[in-house]
Amino acid sequence: MDQRTITRADLSEAVFQEVGLSRNESAELVEVILAEIAGALSRGETVKISSFGSFTVRDKGQRIGRNPKTGQEVPILPRRVLVFRASNVLKAKINNTTPTTADVEGE
């Protein structure tokens, strides 16, 4: 089967079908949820969604990089990266296996 790409439109359609809000309001709520998560991460907070996964930010120090084409050294400034760690429940669902009790409790 071909791989499909799910977008915001699919998420708001699911909210519309599932909860019965208007299409407009469903789309707005999807947007607000993403904005709240993005806001927390921008403030440096961890966002933990049980049985889904957690988003954490990690600080990287300054280091010397190299332009692979020219070999020239360039400083890479300190930066903050976002890391997603999937929960064991999500990993199990992706592999069609049953999560163990320990996995579920570990959330």
């Binding site: 909860v19 991460l41 961890t46 930010v57 999500l90």
Partner: protein, 113 residues
């Protein structure tokens, strides 16, 4: 921020919704993403990031405690790539935070140059 804190925030922003509806909305979104990944589909949320599934081939691993060889079957792992807008925003706020840490706030009444 946890899922329940997110739900509480959304409920406060949307006083016309029942708490249980807000819970269902949040659950629906993450279930939708989970189900898509379980089907092997990709989830692309522009400006935020994209979730996809990567395949890891079967390999011979080792029990780190005993050194015993064990075969690890092929598996699929979820992967998230941060979107450009979110990445830029996180770094913009991080840069501001670093700058604020480096030079303490000027005191009132002092000459600010």
């Amino acid at each position: 921020m946890t899922k329940s804190e997110l739900i509480a925030k959304l409920a406060a922003l949307n006083p016309h919704l029942y708490q249980r509806d807000v819970e269902r909305i949040v659950a629906t979104i993450f279930d939708e993403i989970t189900n898509a990944l379980a089907r092997g589909d990709r989830v692309e949320l522009r400006g935020f990031g994209a979730f996809s599934v990567k395949r890891r081939d079967s390999r011979t691993g080792r029990n780190p405690r005993t050194g015993e060889a064990v075969s690890v079957t092929e598996k699929r792992v979820p992967y998230f790539k941060t979107g450009k807008d979110l990445r830029d925003r996180i770094n913009r706020e991080f840069a501001a935070e670093l700058a604020a840490r480096a030079e303490p706030k000027p005191e009132a009444g002092k000459d600010m140059g």
